[in-house]
Symmetry: C2
Subunit: 268 residues, 2 copies
């Protein structure tokens, strides 16, 4: 199962994944400085603007090369260019958005798309009532056109904003059509073949993490005592082999299949 010497997602040519995740942050801060015609910036100042530690920032930049000048700082324009190039933002990235509900609309209108080389190649939906309408000035087209659009416009990035039940199916079609990077907003674990990247954005998970910390702050830590019986079933021993066998069937053969949470990304 191990394909690359390092790990799941080889840190390409020496750039750590954690650093890659911060580059867009630096880029944003630098762009703001650039618009104010600030010529140079120190690691300390830029780090403050990006909300990180300055040593971390310097180390991050050191992976890209020695683009700073000691005693002075970093040239803003030069860094903007270098980071953009490293992230691949100097080229055009056509993107398809599948599932045009509220969230799909929000993304279609999202200004951050166009501003960084991302171009909405098409909006797709399966619902005939939605197909034909327009969002952000673009027509919503039917799922059937997915394959021809992806192939014709060389789309390599797909965004899934469908209800969770449709996500895996849509994902399969995207991959089959040639998409190799997927941004998934549906609360579903997607199965993809090797070589396809998936990143997920999950509202519900973020809130639950906040709730965890919030609970800690309140001092109402869940105590490990005799209190608070489990609501339904006690940990009663008993005949379980048959149950386990049944479970094995129900859980699906080889991978995550039946994950049909009832919550929806786009209830409308």
């Amino acid at each position: 199962m191990r394909r690359t010497p390092v790990g799941r997602q080889t840190r390409a040519r020496g750039i750590p994944e954690a650093t890659v995740a911060r580059l867009p942050l630096y880029l944003r801060a630098l762009t703001a400085l650039s618009e104010r015609s600030v010529p140079t910036v120190s690691s300390e100042e830029l780090a403050a603007a990006a909300g990180v530690n300055s040593a971390k920032l310097r180390k991050d930049f050191s992976y890209l090369g020695s683009y700073g000048t000691r005693g002075v700082g970093y040239d803003v324009e030069y860094l903007v260019y270098q980071i953009s190039r490293e992230l691949g933002l100097t080229q055009d990235w056509p993107v398809v958005i599948v599932g045009i509900g509220n969230l799909g609309h929000a993304l279609a209108n999202y200004g951050g798309f166009a501003s960084r080389g991302f171009r909405v190649a098409a909006l797709l939906d399966a619902d005939p009532n939605v197909v034909g309408s327009t969002a952000a000035g673009l027509p919503v087209r039917h799922m059937d056109e997915l394959e021809s659009i992806v192939a014709g416009q060389h789309v390599s990035i797909g965004v899934i904003t469908t209800p969770p039940g449709a996500a895996q199916q849509v994902c399969d079609r995207l991959v089959e059509a040639g998409v190799t990077s997927i941004l998934n907003f549906a609360p579903t674990v997607l199965n993809v073949p090797d070589g396809v990247d998936v990143r997920k954005v999950d509202l519900s998970i973020e809130l639950q993490i906040l709730a965890f910390h919030e609970q800690r702050k309140s001092g109402e830590e869940p105590e490990e005592g005799p209190i608070e019986e489990p609501p339904v079933r006690e940990r009663t021993p008993g005949p379980v082999r048959a149950a386990a066998a049944k479970l094995r069937r129900a859980a699906g053969g080889k991978d995550t299949k039946g994950d049909s949470d009832r919550q929806a990304v786009l209830p409308a």
Copy 2:
């Protein structure tokens, strides 16, 4: 600057942050099993359903306690309860959403909210044209009501879906009113006092990370050669002290202030 012995966000009582981030994933998979009345599940099966490695899952669960039965697996109902309790989902969490554009609408309609103990206490917006309309059956109320709502309903979690220019301001008001956990969708670095948690969801960053890996796949790695001159300014040495001094003023005194990227979360 170091407040806690471990680090930035002390891992409460022994539960690592990485584990906390996965608990909601396990919970979702377990809930799906529960709905199918599956009584027990092995670490291998549950790990597959959650998209993680089984050893990792077992270690994660070991931080919660010994809730499994060797030779059998984990009792689904029991685990659902324990994880819910650990995450603080057995209590009610009122939430305010500020900024009711497309994204705000999408979140208000999000089914995952209600299904896990999160309740939308109020929808708020500053635009008089939006105030008074309804979203997801709830009236949109004016920002002026923020303080009274937060105080009156004991809201501790706020969601920011405003344009980036308004985010810090809204954040300050939320914190001032008593909110101690914030989920930020605006592409802005928020400054908050100690004791307030911020999690951010940033569309643009996710896409840029995908683009980075996509570029690597294409083999078009940015090469470190004499090619590709920087577009605007060369790395010309020269008198820079005055510039650096000017910069220091422009960048703001103590913290991230002027971060006004032109992209908007909610252009509408």
